[in-house]
Amino acid sequence: MANPQINISSLTFDDIKTSLKAYLNNPTLNPQFVGYNFDASALNTLLDIFSYNTLFYSFYSNMIANETFLSTASLESSIVSLVKPLGYLVPGKSSAKIQLNVSSASGSVTVNPYSSVFTGFSPSGNSYLFYPIEGITVSSQTNLSIYEAKSVVNNLQVTVDITEQKVFLGNTNVDINTLTLKVNGVTWTKYNTFQSNPGSEGTVYFLDRTSSGFYVIFGKKTINDYQTTFGKTIAETDVVTVSYLIPSGADANNINSVTNTNLVISSVTPSIGGADGADLDLVKFFAPKMFAANDRAVTRDDYYGVLFNSGVLPANITNINQINVWGGEDADPPVYGRVFVSFSDQTLTKTTPSVLKCIQFLKNKSVVTVIPEYVQSQIIKVSLTIRLTTVSGLPDIGSNVLTYVNAMYNTNKIFNNNINANDIKQKLLNAYPSNIRSVIVEPSKISLLVSASAASKNVYFRNEFIAPQIYSLSGTALFSDIFSYNGQNIRFKDNPTKFDENNYALEGELLGIIDQTTTSVGIIGYINYTLGYITINPGVLPISSTLYFNAFLKYPDNITIKNESVLIVDTIVISQST
């Protein structure tokens, strides 16, 4: 009798044991023992040991294979090691950061790096200490960034291993973004992996991550030229000092109350950016992109990688979905020679200091003739009605559904989101399988908050409007909130004027309609139904005001937005039980 085929592809304990039993079941191979198939027999115990041993080694082999490749590695130590050849340094803990607007209580006040203490109080009453990492003198209103730390190392003199030209910082909790290194009182800069050879006099240092801390490494001799060093070396007489913060991590986020004895603090942005360690998924995502881009911004992905490694992102932009980058050719209307960047926080404008820093940073990295430009994000609100039929006798889940949908769209505002009625319906059915009999999701109008402008203004909804037919002009695709124009309270309403061969509206006028009546005060703008935008004539909107425009879409069940638009939902849940 031929040998039975051994199944080596099933690697659970039971499968391995079954495979061994099948092998022993062959009387030619095993003429003597028949007790292997009884749970408590000694032979069965041996089979258990063999199966466990096989399982152990198959798991071990699987882990080795997984941890060898960046895309499947899961251990931090493996990822740290795998991204080293890509020139990517995995950070440790990150300090929560607060941006303050401060002025002096009297005269001018000197803020010293790593030593001027600010006390922050969390909403639950815990106190945290914050420190600046750059020194400034405050005499008038000044912006200041401070970083949380539970311990501070300030101007600590360290001993350099002269032979190896390295110093070990034995703590993985060091926030390396707060590290300042001085040699003989002169600040040296961290070497950027992709910058050119700093030469033998370059005052740069290198950082290397290990599982127990960070190495600071100084000028090394290159392989090809023994006489030339890659950066300046440290001599025995040099005095090297380091300053850095060891943060509490994520616990120090969301602090919005800060005090300091010498300064008047006029505004505080809640602390953000504190993290207990590197987000390994982000590291896996960005390290190859950084390597591919070589610190140059050419492709769209390069911009994401360069921005995330820049260290100048606004503190509350921590996720890739909070950044959108698109080429000018994809803009409406196209603007060639530009690349647009937008952050999902709509309070960030072109003049926000951190945004200015980002754009300046990108200008140094982008291709000549391609100019990076920031576009303030705008919120598009989709009105959503969810009609639930629930199982009678079970608790009402209306508020749960509302929370669920809000969590999907409103909690973390991200780009490139879309609303698909069928998707939402399916997710609700999956989330509450025993409560919901049926569910109908009806997106209706979308609303856009528009800021007034003295000049002509285009407002893009980026979705095709519902287009009334020539024979049914009573319908409307767009209307606005009420505003004051020439002393009268009016609202916008569309008026189709140009039709296609099927008599569907293509373009139309925006009429000012006196509220509660149909009297028009004339044409004060235009609407394009197909491309989904409106043009408002100059001087119509009152200066320094905002106004909601509401539009009905041709395809409301699947709304996709792009570029600087961020999508949120305004949901009503109507629940009945049967």
């Binding site: 023992f33 028949v34 009884f38 408590a40 027999s41 000694a42 032979l43 115990t45 258990d48």
Partner: protein, 129 residues
Amino acid sequence: MSTTIKFTDIDFFLTKNDLTNDVNIMYNANAISQSIKNIILTTQKEKLFSPFFGGNAYDLLFTSPSPLDIASKQSLFAAAVRNHEPRANVQSIDITDSGEGHWLITVLYRTIYSQTNPFNSQQTVRIAL
């Protein structure tokens, strides 16, 4: 009457057979008896991937169980043997106090290892704790 060798197993203690220079082999009732002893003396969750295997006999050591506890243990032993040793048909299980917290467990069972005369063999396993 000749006895057919139906079940074989190796000795749990891996003792050496001086004639064959190999490990000693257990046959029929001996193989089954050591299997029953293994079941009763194993504590549940002790055996990897078989959390319900075992009789938890060591729970009895140095305790003073009530008659109800003894009855409960008897049924646990019987169920464990029934689930994991299909070759044995348990007739009775006695748990007797040997003094100073020690116990003697006696399992009386019938088994099928003779093709010609099924259930002809009544066997006893004694386990001292």
